[in-house]
Amino acid sequence: MTLIVENLGCVRQERIIFSDVNFTVKAGQALWVKGRNGTGKSSLLRIIAQLLKPASGQISWQQKDVLDEPVEFLKRFEYIGHLDALKTSMTPRENLSFWAKYRGPNNIEAAIEAFKIEEIADFPVRSLSAGQKKRSNLARLIACPSKIWILDEPISSLDVHFIDLFTDLLRAHLEDGGLALYATHQDLEIDDVQLLNLDEYTGAGS
């Protein structure tokens, strides 16, 4: 249950964003990706989530090359991006049940409960606030359970109360033997966490 990243490099628009990034995340561990704007936090997470091709380097999961055999790895993670991935004319429950049907495993009620969106679950998404949308989107993590959570700014529009709630869920996920990679501006009070500061990897040396 190990995710190993070696010599990862990223080029955007013919510019080197970062290079030679190395880290290892084991079951129960988390990786906190930090850095100023434009240092490639999102790009790094998107590369792990197979949405972006790296310019160099290897990613392996369970000793298998992820870039070579992506299909097995794709089932193992859930990715939360900047955008909410919700259809505004459907309710949070309909959105969740679509993803659950699309992905396979199914845990909608538990997800709605965990993120405390019971009262809003049957209103069209377009009538919800930014924080409510964020929670409805995060609920996908529970609705479609997976080993690795890849989270890009997961707490951006949440208030303090819900940040605590989310941190508890993240801790429970790690205690269950899950892995997490997240980019936030704020410390999340996780015990077993490594810090990856992308400020140190900026394109220098090209």
Binding site: L83, A85, L86, M90
Partner: protein
Amino acid sequence: MSAFYALLKRDLRLAYRQGSAVTLTLAFFIIAVTLFPLGVGPELAVLARIGPGVLWVGALLSCLLTLDRLYQADYEDGTLEQLMKGPLPLELMVLAKVAAHWISSVLPLILIAPVLAITFNIVADGIWVLVLSLLIGSPVLSLIGSIGAALTVAMRRGGVLLSLMILPLYIPVLIFGVAAVEAAISLLAISPHLMLLGGLTLGALVLCPFASAAALRLAVE
């Protein structure tokens, strides 16, 4: 396969919820077609002569009008990258979305076409073949269009570029579709034309998903 149906059902439900899009496309089709008698003059012989072409071109343009949103809505709200994560292979995802587009945006046009054909004074043989040729040929419009929609998905004003890229590729379908109707009207054999349309549809069915998928990967990067 359940993922395929889930996506198809979701897209149809979205089209139904945003009912205005379907109605507007239909309205555009009808208005665009009615402009011709006004522009060309109400002479029935002339209308019967140009009718098949006008209806095919009208259907083609209405279809084009809806294409730029095919992937763009999903791209803008982040759903597209989630869809690409799987488990459905990207090519099948494209097919599911194209099928939903055809059912929600093109099929209504085909259903209303016979009524418009009557107002154009097209003879009965011609009307049946018109509907038949649209049914067989119009999936190509959605399929080829999906390549253009995928290539322009990340562009803010991709609609014009989409038309420039896609319209040339539509021309063979248009030619054979109209030729089938004209053949029926002038009592020539229609089966070769319909076979050609069928061949085009099947070919597009195989090749377009691959090209669209490649273009989508590019857009999400």
